[in-house]
Subunit: 281 residues, 2 copies
DNA sequence: CTATGTGAAAGCATTCACAGCG
DNA sequence: CGCTGTGAATGCTTTCACATAG
């Protein structure tokens, strides 16, 4: 784990702000669609609408790439597709490995959008010997023992981790040791990686929780209390997910502000169970 | 589509900054792990490390929730778990529907972390009649025709879209019309929703593209040119993914700055193929 | 006269650093 | 005396609004 740095790409990225980089794929997608419909040019306004951002932002983003538009006209679709692709490094082929061929890993392997943008699934790797040799998405699954060899043979620098949480760090360490420098992590764990390695994570559960937060606020406003709402609208049947461990509403260490709002809801809290899809075992 | 507002939650969220909200699930996960190990208290430093953020950020985040810590000691794990759960609205049960039971949809249905945090899969919906009645993750798939009824019967306010891109907007419109106000979108499309509806998206391809961008930069630095790099290191065999449409390096509309760096790489560009996993058809 | 490109202003988020509570 | 909670400083991102190229 060395310096123990975690997450977030190296931040500064040669001029182009991170926020802009994150939107380039969006623009590219919109442009690709236009390209397919043989639309020759777009205005910042139109393209922005198609990408779901506002035009000022889009123009500012593009300004970091250079002056690729034509005043009074707009942007040349084909040319922009090319420029953004190049900027993103999609004009080259990126072999990736997927580690952990459970439900999710298999879905990822089958995912069309993967291959369509310069990413090639070079190998599928799983720790379960029973999986070895089985074809998934037309590729034979290989055993974890081969990991280092596969990385080296294929010049893989991007790895996708779709293992259970418990195995993720270990897999990550091996990937990194074998030369992988970018990791897309689907396991619900924080990965420690040395400097120079980028990790991006995708966590379904987190996304849902963020939605739930806003959803709760909506419900709260609706019910009246337009402010410190939190009025636990117990519309849904209060069947706790799992009656496990920690009982309801634990008492604070010190008598801080007592839990506001309509108190005693059920202190839901299940055993972590954090595992992306089915386990490879 | 009404006002045609798109993406990003309603922004302002009653005091708590959006960035903080997005980190609460992370803290919760770390805390839950501690709770399972029966750790009674944590310092901001320890918890921050476990969640992969720095301690100052964590303390600032928690300060928005209230003063839940004890100076000189730290935070009470159980109490914090409860407070954050409540803040996120996880003390109640959230029924969700998953629309589009292809590869990805099925993986999502099987995803353990789903149910473990207050989210209950109320129904699986697919447009393919051949899927109807089939059990996936122990739940019988229902046909799209039933969508409105299912939403109403179960009081669903959160929907997950895992259909092909082409069907996503239509499904989204139906979900919204039926009363869904939060959507987690896995289809690679920008969804238009009326105000008051939150959309969060998860796009594998986008994440990989962001990684590729940074990866390319790394490769560039390595090879010398520490600045406007873009020196297309053609290590991998230049087998274009799909030799489709648009030829190589289209010419700019006007003679702007000619494409810098080692010019003529292959103008990769396949038929969109944007489909998350297998299609329900 | 239209739509880009961009300084300058405003708004958020992160980090610093330290006062002050237990 | 350690560790939280938080103003103040810094840095990023978004938005505004307009000069300017075509």
């Amino acid at each position: 784990m060395a310096t123990g740095r975690t997450h977030r790409p190296a931040t500064r990225s040669r001029g182009i702000p991170e926020a802009t980089v994150a939107r380039l794929p969006l623009y590219l997608r919109a442009l690709t669609a236009l390209s397919e419909r043989s639309v020759p040019t777009v205005s910042s306004e139109e393209l922005a609408a198609a990408a779901g951002v506002n035009s000022a932002k889009l123009r500012k983003d593009f300004s970091y790439l250079g002056s690729y538009g034509t005043r009074g006209v707009g942007y040349d679709v084909e040319y922009l597709v090319y420029q953004i692709s190049r900027e993103l490094g999609l004009t080259q082929d990126w072999p990736v490995v997927i580690v952990g061929i459970g439900n999710l890993g298999a879905a990822l392997a089958n995912y069309g959008g993967f291959a369509s943008r310069g990413f090639r699934v070079a190998a599928l790797i799983d720790a379960d010997p029973a999986m070895t040799g089985k074809p998934v998405a037309g590729i034979a699954v290989q055993h974890t023992d081969e990991l280092e060899q596969i990385i080296a043979d294929n010049g893989v620098s991007i790895g996708v981790i779709a293992t259970p949480a418990g195995a993720a760090q270990q897999v990550c360490d091996r990937l990194v040791a074998a030369g992988v420098t970018s990791i897309l992590n689907f396991a619900p764990t924080v990965l420690s990686v040395p400097d120079g390695v980028d990790v991006r994570k995708v966590d379904l559960s987190i996304e849902l929780q963020i939605l739930a937060f806003h959803e709760q606020r909506k419900a709260g406003e609706e019910t009246g209390t337009p402010d410190e709402a939190a009025s636990a609208q117990s519309a849904a049947p209060a069947d706790a997910i799992t009656p496990g461990a920690a009982a309801a509403a634990p008492a604070p260490l010190a008598p801080h502000r007592a839990a506001p709002g309509a108190g005693t809801d059920n202190g839901r809290q299940g055993p972590d169970g954090d595992v992306p899809a089915v386990m490879p075992a």
